[in-house]
């Protein structure tokens, strides 16, 4: 029955990591009527504290189809009863137009109860798809220096954060800078400034002498834009920030920059684009370095 719907699901409590692959294989054979392809391009790890869960799953839903992948969602529940792992597995099959075939994506959601939150890397590592790049999406501010975070950083090629989710900016940027040499970093907040950076770039050279930038947007966007201009022009530039949920205005020395064309991108589009990148982004790293 589920074969025609293209979604299969399995749920279990107190599972072992070894069991998971077996249950996924069962799901695959339940959906497969021939012509199913598994062309994964990456493993996508997500660290999602419960308060982020709903939003995270929404974004993932918009994305799985575009990046055939295995997604492993780790939900830490240190205060839940007992120590153990509860799992929900989904297998999504997306039809490929005009070919009669389907592509499958797998989502493994693991709720880590009690002490199992402490060493997530040992849980994720056996589930990574061999030889494909691993992306880690960390929801909220990472606990820099703590075991769970540091271990995972060493497991992955790319860390994706959204510094908009971080309190007390710009201080945490200094800690972020310290891991640039260990994993490439993508910041959704930075990606969301792209339209504006393009716009400002088109105003060069008139704006080369800028001394102060005023940003109406999130704190992250304000600090990153200021850091960007400072690092590009290699000189100090003052920042004034007016809080807003979205980036809606940039003034340079009191002069408003024209609004960039087009719509702001959807959350899954932004994440999706970050998943297409592989190398480090020196311009971002320099901007982060210049925020503090």
């Amino acid at each position: 029955m589920a074969a025609t719907m293209g979604v299969e699901r399995w749920e279990g409590t107190d599972v072992s990591v070894g069991e998971i692959e077996r249950h996924l294989a069962d799901l695959r054979s339940a959906v497969d009527e021939g012509g199913m392809i598994r062309t994964s391009v990456l493993t996508h790890l997500a660290w999602v504290p419960p308060e982020w869960e709903e939003r995270a799953l929404e974004t993932l839903a918009g994305m799985a189809e575009r990046h055939p992948s295995r997604t492993i969602v780790l939900v830490p529940q240190p205060d839940a009863g007992g120590n153990g792992i509860d799992a929900t597995l989904w297998l999504n099959a997306f039809p490929l137009p005009d070919s009669g075939r389907r592509v499958c994506s797998e989502v493994i959601e693991l709720r880590l109860r009690g002490s199992l939150c402490r060493s997530p890397a040992s849980i994720a590592a056996p589930l990574l798809i061999a030889d494909l790049p691993v992306f880690l999406r960390w929801r909220g501010q990472p606990p820099f220096g703590q075991q769970q975070f540091e271990e995972l950083v060493d497991l992955v090629q790319r860390l994706i954060v959204d510094s908009t989710e971080w309190p007390r900016l710009p201080a945490p940027y200094a800690q972020l800078s310290a891991i640039f040499h260990r994993a490439a970093v993508s910041d959704i907040a930075w990606a969301r400034t792209t339209r504006w950076r393009r716009q400002l770039a088109s105003m060069w050279p008139e704006i080369a002498g800028v001394r102060k930038i005023r940003v109406t947007g999130t704190a992250a966007q304000a600090h990153l834009l200021a850091g960007w201009l400072r690092s590009r022009f290699e000189k100090p530039i003052g920042l004034e920030h007016e809080d807003s949920e979205r980036l809606i205005g940039v003034e340079l020395d009191g002069e408003a920059a024209p609004f960039p064309p087009g719509d702001p991108p959807q959350p899954s589009d932004v994440l999706s684009e970050e998943l297409d990148r592989f190398g480090r982004d020196p311009v971002y790293e320099a901007a982060v370095g210049a925020t503090v």
Binding site: E65, L96, S99, R101, V103, R198, W204, P205, R232, G262
Partner: protein
């Protein structure tokens, strides 16, 4: 370019591939190509914000249209043919820079109006005298236009010329065309379109070969038994009889698309992906190519038959086709490349209309395993490995391998290992024309055909056509919906091989 390099803010913004401000002038703007391909491509580029902010399009043709009528017509073309949904805000960025000039191409007064319109756009839209001219016109007006554009260059800015196929009718006319072009333009200002090279999957042949270490060592006569290239269409001549009667399959597909596919499949690794390096290697392949003689070329013309369950007429009964037409709608050939990599390895190529399905593939058939140790499958049972590049449809790559059937004994079955483009990369593939128009605006000629390539292609075609003039085959010789004339099968059977049929 200088400006791009100095702007420190541009670093990392992926603006490197945004062209400089320019105006795109389309001659033949009321034609089919503009409507179905060019404008939809321009729209898709705008949709992805790949066009320069300062950009304009001027359409030129005889049809009497105002700017607004042209815009309306192009808007409906975009709505009908673009691969992206129609968005008013995208269209609104494009539309104000769209103009139309109605004129005969040989009218000096019209040329003046065009030049006035462009000067005005330079002022209004900041296009800085940079021009891309697109010649989407019948070949008989090429030369006239080339001269006119050459003589009317703007005082500042660069000029580039995009030229459509057909490029010449034979070697002599192609040379004349090249000379005509070179009288007014440098080779690096000329962009001869072969839209096959703009296809993602053709470029993927290069990626497959040169970005993977495992293929190149076996990509030669020692490991490859032969190569088959198929460009099959299920359509008939449609409404192109006027052109097709003169051209035939050999000029329509073989001379350009097929030979380009072959060149990309067989070329040596270029030292880099620049226009000169890539094209140098392709020219070498074309130069090394020979046909072993007229017996190894087969031509055909479709008769009545069934395609997709429909009863379709014979070529000679199509509108605009002479009832005794000797034009070929099918060509198959056995080709050899005289070089160290490929000596004695046959390349079998074929193209035709009204074949069972639309399919473009490059199939590399490897040598059989020399001595399978499994008694059960001695002789016939073991199939060679085939690597198939699906150019269209179902873009992707598959490898046929022998695998053991589960159970006792050693039964081997051929199975497919598939990579489907759409499976791994879930973004729609861009249309060839998007890539090519953008590349021309950027001045990157890697995916365009150079003058010497064209001439080498004709040098292969001319003797084939000359031999054809000496006899009159019995046409039609294949039914619509079949894979071509029997002689085409004989061509491979003589060598103990067979065409792939699925």
């Amino acid at each position: 370019m200088a400006v791009l390099e100095q702007n420190p803010l541009l670093e990392g913004l992926e603006l490197a591939r945004t062209p400089e401000p320019c105006a795109l002038v389309i001659f033949g703007a009321s034609g089919d190509l503009t409507r179905r391909k060019l404008f939809p491509a321009i729209y898709s580029l705008a949709y992805r914000q790949l066009l320069p902010a300062r950009f304009a399009v001027v359409g030129v043709a005889r049809t009497e249209w105002s700017d607004d009528e042209f815009r309306d017509d192009m808007e409906s073309a975009v709505r009908e043919f673009a691969r992206d949904e129609f968005r008013q805000d995208v269209w609104d960025t494009l539309a104000p820079g769209v103009r139309y000039v109605s004129t005969e191409f040989d009218s000096p007064e019209g040329a003046d109006r065009l030049s006035a319109c462009l000067t005005e756009l330079d002022e209004e839209r900041g296009t800085r005298g940079n021009r891309v001219y697109y010649l989407a016109v019948p070949p008989d007006v090429f030369r006239l236009l080339v001269r006119q554009i050459g003589e009317q260059r703007a005082a500042e800015g660069w000029t580039r010329l995009i030229v459509e196929k057909p490029f010449g009718y034979d070697l002599t006319t192609a040379r004349e065309l090249n000379q005509g072009l070179h009288g007014h333009f440098a080779e690096d200002e000329i962009f001869r379109i072969d839209h096959y090279l703009g296809k993602e999957t053709v470029q993927n042949v290069l990626a497959l070969r040169f970005a993977n270490g495992i293929f190149e060592p076996i990509w030669n006569r020692q490991f490859i038994d032969h190569v088959q290239i198929t460009v099959g269409e299920s359509l008939g001549v449609e409404r192109r009889a006027g052109f097709y009667e003169q051209a035939g399959a050999i000029r329509d597909i073989f001379q350009n698309h097929l030979l380009q596919l072959l060149a990309v499949t067989a070329m040596e690794p270029p030292i880099d992906f620049t226009a000169e390096s890539v094209r140098n290697e392709k020219v070498k392949v074309l130069r090394a190519m020979h046909t072993p003689g007229p017996k190894h070329i087969v031509r055909g013309q479709y008769g009545r038959g069934f395609v997709d369950g429909e009863d379709v007429p014979a070529y000679r009964d199509e509108e605009g086709v002479a009832p005794d037409s000797m034009t070929e709608t099918y060509v198959a050939a056995k080709l050899f490349l005289d070089n160290w990599r490929w000596a004695d390895t046959p390349f079998y190529v074929r193209t035709g209309k009204r074949l069972p399905r639309r399919e473009t593939t490059v199939a590399i058939q490897f040598q059989r395993a020399p001595h399978p140790p499994f008694a059960e499958i001695a002789g016939e049972g073991l199939r060679p490995n085939v690597l198939i590049v699906h150019i269209q449809p179902n873009e992707g790559v598959s490898l046929e391998i022998g695998a053991k059937v589960p159970g006792h004994g050693m039964q081997i079955r051929t199975v497919h290992m598939d990579f489907l483009y759409g499976g791994a990369f879930r973004t729609g593939l861009p249309e060839a024309y998007e890539r090519l128009i953008l590349d021309a605006m950027l001045g990157d000629a890697t995916l365009f055909t150079r003058s010497d390539e064209i001439e080498e292609q004709w040098a292969i075609v001319d003797p084939i056509v000359a031999a054809w003039r000496r006899d009159r085959p019995v046409f039609p010789n294949y039914a619509s919906g079949s894979w071509g004339p029997k002689e085409a099968n004989d061509l491979l059977e003589r060598d103990g091989r067979a065409w792939r049929t699925h």
